[in-house]
Symmetry: C2
Subunit: 264 residues, 2 copies
């Protein structure tokens, strides 16, 4: 089981978009995937469900060991540990606790979590471990306790960036945070890479920025990129991933998601 | 002196872009404007200066009464109380304090602040009050202590939104937070309005979303909108506002900023 944290404290760069599109593609390709919505805005959850599931990540962390964990099925091979506005309360509630940053990490190895993974969203007795091949954690646009929990629980860090001056400025803070996390709570955390998202080829400045970003990150930057396209917004409206949408006209963005999914 | 807080916990909707463009336009039109960068990412500060000023909002809040406040001149009629990564420390440092949410409000009425406003960025002795007609505060994409300080210090709340499903979902939390703030720390806080930013007219879903957003917010939503345009990114590269950029080709986005500036 691989755990990926999708992080960038810069807002609106595509953390949620990449989490849902990669999750849907890899499930479509046959991997057993679990998405975790660790953002109080719960955009990931709302992008799949009109009504927020009653129990999610907040309940699983707060109620602690012994109480069942609820995973909500999204499509075949894809489950969600849902988010809610209540998660923003966790930032304050966990602030003082010594193990405030380790709550998610502990949850992912707990009996209850293993049980919920193995058997759909019901809390069956059979405690066979695992069930998911891959977990992707969506995080809020800040370097607070929720993002800290995701970094402490993850094996790999994926950073979406958009071709903008602000992207060049903010990502060094994030790599610094990763180093700090590696030295303190999670020595196995490694960068999986940086993904350029929502570039538009028609403008010169966009191409220049992508060139600069590739220069800064080198090998760390995936070759595959996602262009800006209205298809992503339409996919949210249909509560599905691009790969699950009917109609050939999804082809360009869909192809980009598939290529990226393969690379990841 | 009017104080406007620019808030939306959804990331990447244009808080920083609108703060800097409205600030530059209103200064160009003759108003004395102060921008405050209350975001740890310090995008607003970095969009004007390659090197971050040594002293800014963090120092002003932490050092408290008695120590001078440093305002950095940006252009004629425009000053900046700069941000820095150190502001993210404030979130934790102020978490326990009873008056943690009132630090910025207190700063804006302090002797030292008045002095700094009156005479450029030096800390002259003449303590004539005021100096700025308008203050706009840029905030981070979260509803934490920094945004709380901005809401407590402000007279008016301006909410940028982008035509996206997530915008429709997140803004009710923000209006709820405003109500809560009004009942507890700041009874005079009133909504100035909601501004649609970065729409692209060519897609149907974008036009539908703008229609839906106008339906939800009614009168609260400004008629004036900002279209998506690469000019904004180019303006950041030049470290200037759109109104200060040479060349007639800035016309469409510049006209939109002027119209919006007039309305505000
Ligand atoms: N490649 C793309 N093309 C077009 N639109 C995109 C693309 N990627 C993301 N978007 C849109 O841009 C907006 C921001 O993306 P998203 O919400 O995924 O970013 P985020 O980093 O998760 O934001 P936050 O910081 O608020 O969590 C959304 O409305 C999304 O639909
Ligand atoms: N009208 C627009 N047209 C084109 N690009 C825009 C427009 N408004 C904002 N942008 C770009 O979109 C990105 C996000 O905007 P901005 O950083 O101002 O949002 P924000 O809400 O301040 O983000 P954060 O939540 O991280 O503070 C920036 O790269 C900016 O240059
Ligand atoms: Mg998100
Ligand atoms: Mg900003």
């Amino acid at each position: 089981m691989k755990v990926i944290a999708m992080c960038n404290q810069k807002g609106g760069v595509g953390k949620t978009t990449l989490t849902r599109e990669l999750g849907c593609y890899l499930a479509y390709a046959g991997e057993k995937v679990l998405l975790i919505d660790a953002d109080g805005q719960a955009n990931l959850t709302k992008s799949f469900f009109d009504d927020e599931p009653a129990c999610g990540l907040y309940e699983a962390i707060l109620e602690g060991p012994g109480s069942p964990v609820t995973l909500t099925p999204v499509r075949e091979n894809l489950k969600l540990l849902s988010g809610s506005i209540r998660l923003s309360l966790l930032e304050r509630q966990l602030a003082g606790e010594i193990d405030g940053y380790l709550k998610l990490k502990r949850l992912l190895v707990s009996e209850e979590f293993m049980r919920a993974c193995a058997h759909g969203s019901s809390q069956a007795d059979d405690s066979r471990a695992g069930g998911s091949d891959l977990i992707i954690i969506d995080t809020p646009p800040s370097l607070g306790i929720l993002t800290g929990n995701a970094l402490a629980a993850a094996d790999l860090l994926l950073i979406p960036i958009s071709p903008a001056q602000y992207s060049l400025q903010g990502t060094s803070d994030l790599l610094e945070t990763m180093e700090k996390m590696r030295k303190t709570l999670n020595p196995r955390l490694a960068p999986l890479g940086v993904i350029v998202n929502a570039y538009s080829t028609i403008t010169l400045i966009s191409r220049e920025l992508v060139g600069e970003l590739r220069g800064v990150f080198g090998e760390l930057c995936f070759q595959e990129e996602l262009g800006r396209s209205v298809r992503f917004e339409e996919a949210i409206a249909e509560k599905k991933g691009l790969v699950d949408l009917a109609g050939a006209n999804w082809s360009k963005s869909r192809e980009e998601v598939v290529a990226l999914g393969e690379a990841v």
